[in-house]
């Protein structure tokens, strides 16, 4: 039996060539973030910002919502980069930061919902928002998953979930900065619950795409 191991070791050693180590996960995360931010900027330039955006930033719950969406995007992208490494680059704590961001985000949305009294009128559209977010999120999701396949994730389900969460946060940010819509109930129903669902679907996508 030891002979088999010895044979394999010799074979693998004979294959050894100079290998360029992967970049640090934070550098990798910044690269992915930069690409996603550029994509978001192009989308907003093409579709336009909501006209009342500056006024809305004066509302604390809206500002907190946007800040936390950004926080989810940053934390999830960095976490995805860490999850691409078998040992999470030995930064386990940082890899689970998106969970804390999500918890804060849910709390803010809950308070914003309570503060929306009397409730803002519901827009006439419904699932179209989810569909738009999905379409916007597709590209960052695909490129991040594709990039991650070049690494060696040992947490492929979590990695898939986090990648979809990061991609959907880009979609959600775009729609929130573009669409004139103040109904928190609509936002929960058609923007943020689908984002959570995407995180769950990511568990399956990760197994499908990132298993090695």
């Amino acid at each position: 039996m030891m002979k088999n191991i010895e044979r394999l070791v010799e074979k693998l050693a004979a294959d050894a060539v100079v290998v360029r180590p992967a970049p640090h996960p934070f550098a990798l995360g910044l690269k992915w973030m930069g690409a996603a931010a550029a994509y978001l900027a192009v989308l907003l330039a093409l579709t336009g910002l909501r006209p009342d955006l500056m006024e809305k930033f004066g509302e604390p719950w809206f500002a907190a919502e946007i800040a936390l969406l950004l926080g989810i995007f940053v934390a999830a992208t960095l976490s995805a980069a860490l999850l691409a490494f078998p040992d999470l680059h030995q930064k386990r704590g940082a890899a689970w930061k998106p969970a804390a961001m999500m918890a804060l985000f849910i709390a803010v949305i809950f308070f914003a919902w309570n503060a929306d009294d009397p409730p803002s009128p519901l827009p006439s559209h419904t699932f179209e928002c989810t569909l738009s977010i999905v379409l916007v999120a597709l590209l960052p999701a695909i490129w991040t998953l594709h990039a991650m396949r070049g690494y060696a994730s040992t947490h492929y389900r979590t990695a898939g979930s986090i990648v979809l969460l990061a991609a959907f946060s880009v979609g959600a940010l775009w729609l929130r900065l573009h669409e004139v819509n103040n109904s928190v109930f609509h936002m929960i129903q058609w923007h943020y619950l689908p984002m959570l669902a995407a995180g769950l679907i990511g568990l399956w996508v990760g197994r499908l795409v990132l298993k090695w």
Partner: protein
């Protein structure tokens, strides 16, 4: 943070620079490091050996994710645990797939499994394609005429296990022949 096996990190750095001897040394040391870890979790030595080979291959495939600037052992153990979990998942899924219904078993154990409608000679080709244990059992029972009890003694198994294995083999053969 320093690794108690700093030399492994150094070896990996050299290996990444293309040093084949350092790489062979690293893989040997890794195998020595991981063998007890796997032996504690698996029963058969052959299983440990197979999985160890798989882990070494995975380490080879993922070596670009290690930069030599952080401890080596957690990185190697992360890959080993990942492969071990995968192995156990497949192992138990297989066992579940091949598990017999308990009611089914009660029926088999009372049957005389040496009496079947199958003629050994006409299907010997199909029997040879069965897993080795099953084909040996059928050969002993149907070609050489041993009883289930005698077959069990010859193969160092208990009688019930022989009957269950024979029953499974019949089922596979029946499916193949019905096609």
């Amino acid at each position: 943070m320093t690794d108690t096996t700093d030399d492994l990190a150094v070896l990996m750095r050299q290996a990444l620079a293309g040093d084949q001897r350092a790489y062979a040394e690293l893989l040997r040391k890794t195998a020595l490091l991981l063998r007890p870890f796997l032996s504690r979790r698996l029963n058969a030595d052959s299983e440990v050996d197979d999985l160890l080979q798989e882990i070494l291959l995975s380490i080879h495939k993922a070596r670009h994710t290690y930069d030599g600037r952080r401890p080596y052992k957690p990185w190697a153990y992360a890959i080993a645990s990942f492969r071990l979990k995968d192995h156990l998942r497949t192992h138990y899924a297989d066992r579940l797939r091949h598990a017999e219904d308990i009611a089914d078993l009660e029926n088999i154990l009372h049957k005389d499994v040496t009496e079947t409608n199958l003629d050994y000679e006409s299907i010997s080709g199909e029997i040879e394609k069965l897993p080795e244990k099953q084909s040996t059992i059928l050969r002993l029972m149907h070609q050489q005429g041993y009883t289930a009890k005698e077959t069990a003694q010859k193969m160092g198994m208990n009688e019930s296990a022989v009957k269950v294995a024979a029953h499974r083999a019949y089922r596979i053969l029946r499916k193949k022949l019905e096609r």
